[in-house]
């Protein structure tokens, strides 16, 4: 489906596609240059080629699968690849694929600053944005016009607003989790205007009253794979009321309400530091725990699911703090770990069901 969409975008709009590895990157630059960003979270399932064996089995499945996918030529519909600076493994993948074989088309890296916001990191971020913009402009074959970037920022602000409305108004939304996550994740590869149209259509399904039924839970983790997790959750009688997936909720920027677009690069920098805390951006851990606790409390979640991918260092280093944070509040917590499977294992299914039963039982007793 994605290849057909990519081909259509190229044929009808002249838009080149760029494969993008997780997690954070300034998508507005792509939009402004008429480039289609197609995110690669693996893909899930078994690696599609033997190239996965070029990295050790203790490297996460996102990287192993992406290596296999890109090196096998299955992403050849894309004209370039972007490696955002997410972790050591994606950093290593960037040099492995481009320097030692597997990807011969253009490649870009985007190394966002790590550590707290300081004058140095702000200046650096602007430099990095401009360097990427120059590289992408070369690929697009035309310079980046400031007004196009301003337009793109406005468009993505509307997308963020729509995504925030759906996530924050989850109880009043007449969609189940499977439908909601399918919709939100289509933003990983749809042209932003197409995605916004779908989001707005879904937003129309936000009613004045709560319609979601079942136990509300908060979920945090890297990427919502496998999607069948939400089927199991729904069947067990629960729904996601608050989201902190790196792939989803952590990329929805709610503030600032008003953004000065005179210098669009400065505006992008402001958005970067206004995004929810994320360990892949090295956000302060205490601030992140405060954010999660507030998100949980505000949403009225009855339990917390921590859903991580094996070997994902940025995420796994925060798990102890997450557990401690919610244990201190007496909240029920379930830790699930996967390896980018296409189906939830029977064991994980049982654990999810038991978790929901436990919360339901607790709620009844209370």
């Amino acid at each position: 489906m994605r290849n057909a969409y990519i081909a259509k975008q190229r044929d009808e709009h002249g838009r080149k596609a760029v494969a993008v590895l997780p997690v954070h990157y300034p998508k507005e630059l792509f939009t402004a240059l008429d480039l289609l960003a197609v995110e690669m979270w693996g893909p899930p399932g078994a690696p599609v080629s033997a190239d996965a064996g070029r990295v050790q089995a203790y490297v996460c499945a996102v990287v192993r699968n992406a290596l296999a996918f890109l090196a096998s030529g299955r992403a050849d519909a894309c004209e370039a690849v972007l490696f955002p600076h997410t972790c050591d493994s994606i950093q290593g993948l960037a040099t492995l694929l481009t320097d030692f074989g597997g990807w011969s088309k253009p490649s870009f890296v985007f190394q966002h600053p790590r550590g707290s916001a300081r004058p140095s990191s702000r200046a650096y971020y602007l430099g990095e944005l401009r360097a990427l913009a120059d590289g992408l402009a070369g690929l697009a074959g035309r310079p980046l016009a400031p007004e196009r970037l301003q337009e793109a920022i406005r468009l993505h602000r509307r997308i963020d607003a729509a995504r925030a409305a759906l996530l924050d108004g989850r109880r009043r939304l007449a969609l189940d989790d499977v439908e909601l996550y399918r919709l939100l994740r289509r933003g990983e590869w749809l042209w932003p205007e197409d995605h916004l149209a779908e989001l707005e259509a879904a937003r129309a399904k936000l009613g004045p009253d709560d319609v979601a039924r079942g136990v509300p839970v908060m979920i945090t983790g890297y990427v919502p794979e496998p999607g069948t997790l939400f089927e199991v959750l729904g069947d067990a009688g629960a729904f996601v009321v608050a989201d902190d997936y790196a792939a989803v909720g952590r990329r929805v920027v709610r503030a600032p309400a008003a953004l000065d677009l005179d210098d669009p690069f400065l505006a992008l920098a402001e958005l970067y530091w206004a995004a929810p805390p994320c360990p892949t951006r090295a956000s302060d851990q205490v601030a992140r725990m405060r954010y999660l606790a507030e998100l949980c409390e505000r949403s009225g979640a009855a339990g917390v699911i921590v859903h991580e991918q094996k070997f994902c260092e940025p995420e796994l280093f925060d798990v102890a703090a997450v557990k401690k944070t919610f244990a201190g509040k007496g909240a029920k917590l379930l830790y699930l770990e996967g390896e980018l499977e296409t189906e939830l294992s029977g064991q994980a299914t049982t654990r999810l069901e038991a978790f929901v039963e436990m919360i339901t039982g607790t709620a009844r007793v209370a």
Binding site: A94, G115, S116, S121, L316, A320, E337
Partner: protein, 444 residues
């Protein structure tokens, strides 16, 4: 943390009097044992005579850790990653603690499983770096083979070795509630663009300001220059020690080098560090002149890539030495010598930008391949062992391709050996020995 004169006296006495006195006492005990009834010699040992400098190394490190017990409350204390430009902290009187070095020590002492268990109970996955688990376990339990680690006033983390340290130090910052300074060194693909260098320079200037605030005094340019000069000389001396192994036979083993690296990591920028390496270099040069090898019968020369397997260094080195194999160079120990070539006392900040961004782990795989090629040729190796280290992804990713390229280009035998630098539970000694033995047999 407030600092008192009494505590300062304890710190100085521990570092200047008690530490050296303890070491002298240990030395005397050993000497007395030697003067006793003659012990059977070790003709079966595959190793050359032990290095005299090792005694001084123990004294140096014992004193460092002993003084550290009394450092908090006496002087400003910083916990620092191994790739951090500690030269900026030294003139301000910081006592630097290196959790990585401490974790290596814990691994040699085989206490990693106990410390790791403590943090695994808290939710840290065993898949995470064993250095980090060890250190966090030590922090949580208060257990350490060095008696006590001083509490930090400042955490200093540089991303030039990995991003794991970043996550690890974020957790430490949350635990201790002290400032964390992240020196972010963007990874170098090919050449570092200008805005990357400007960024690191600006960060270093911010670091000076923060360190001054924590220390409560300003750093004078001449003090900084002096420390940087000492650090540069120290790394050069370390490089001279390593270069002695270009001789045949190599006067020591690469595994010896793993232990003797400790001062350049933990005491870089101090005269004590440099004095030690002068002594070591001279001893090694003397051994080269006399044809004394690190192993008795050096028949094959190998390169080691990645961190050591700290908990099994002795076992591995014995297995290899018994068959005439010596690791004459390692990319890990070499990294500490390479950085020094860029340090310039006349431009402490500017040269630190170059030195601390151009670390082997902060550069792309073609650069890594160049280093391995150069080491292989300079040290005339017949083979290489690439340690695929479960705890160190940035060092390990790419090794499968590196293996093929090294073998093809240099016509040497290359083995990828899966192990872990700290946690014995992630390594099967029997399987590892089997792999190494088969590798050695392939040289026949």
């Amino acid at each position: 943390m407030s600092r008192s004169i009494g505590r300062r006296i304890e710190f100085e006495v521990a570092g200047r009097v008690v530490g050296p006195a303890l070491a002298a006492f240990e030395r005397a005990k050993k000497l007395a044992r030697r003067r006793g009834p003659a012990r059977p010699g070790k003709p079966s040992s595959p190793f050359g005579p032990p290095l005299e400098a090792t005694r001084k190394l123990k004294e140096l490190m014992t004193t460092h850790y002993l003084a550290g017990r009394y450092a908090d409350g006496a002087v400003p204390v910083a916990w620092v990653t191994s790739g951090f430009p500690v030269e900026i902290l030294r003139p301000l009187g910081f006592h630097a603690v290196y959790p990585e070095n401490h974790a290596a020590l814990c691994s040699v002492q085989r206490v990693v499983p106990e410390l790791s268990d403590a943090v695994e109970k808290e939710g840290y996955a065993r898949d995470l770096c064993s250095y980090a688990r060890t250190d966090l376990g030590s922090v949580l339990t208060g257990k350490t083979p060095v008696g006590r680690l001083p509490k930090p006033d400042l955490l200093c983390c540089c991303t030039n070795i990995c991003q794991t340290v970043l996550y690890w130090y974020r957790a430490l910052a949350a635990h201790f509630g002290v400032p964390l300074f992240v020196l972010d060194t963007p990874y170098i693909y090919g050449q570092a663009p200008g805005h990357h260098r400007a960024y690191v320079r600006a960060e270093l200037e911010e670091l000076v300001g923060l360190a001054e605030r924590v220390a409560g005094r300003r750093v004078e340019p001449d003090e900084l220059e002096a420390v940087v000069r000492v650090a540069r000389d120290g790394t050069r001396l370390w490089g001279e020690c390593l270069a002695q192994s270009r001789a045949r036979p190599a006067p020591w083993t690469g595994f010896d080098g793993f232990f003797h690296i400790a001062p350049i990591v933990t005491l870089r920028g101090t005269e004590a560090c440099n004095a030690y390496y002068r002594m070591l270099r001279d001893e090694l040069a003397h051994r080269v002149a006399r044809g004394v090898g690190g192993i008795r019968d050096e028949r094959h020369r190998l390169l080691w890539d990645n961190l050591p397997v700290w908990f099994d260094v002795r076992g591995m080195s014995t297995l290899l030495a018994e068959r005439g194999f010596n690791f004459v160079c390692t990319s890990y120990t070499n990294a500490w010598a390479e950085a020094g070539s860029r340090i310039d006392p006349a431009d402490p900040i500017g040269s630190a930008v170059l030195a601390y961004t151009h670390i082997i782990l902060n550069q792309d795989l073609p650069n890594r391949l160049d280093i391995l090629r150069r080491l292989s040729r300079d040290y005339s190796v017949d083979g290489a062992v690439l340690h695929s280290d479960r705890s160190c992804k940035p060092y390990s990713i790419g090794q499968i391709d590196l293996k093929q390229r090294l073998a093809r280009e240099l016509d040497i035998k290359v083995l990828v050996l899966e192990a872990d630098h700290g946690d014995p539970r992630a390594y099967s000694v029997e399987q590892g020995e089997g792999r190494l033995t088969a590798f050695m047999e392939s040289f026949a």
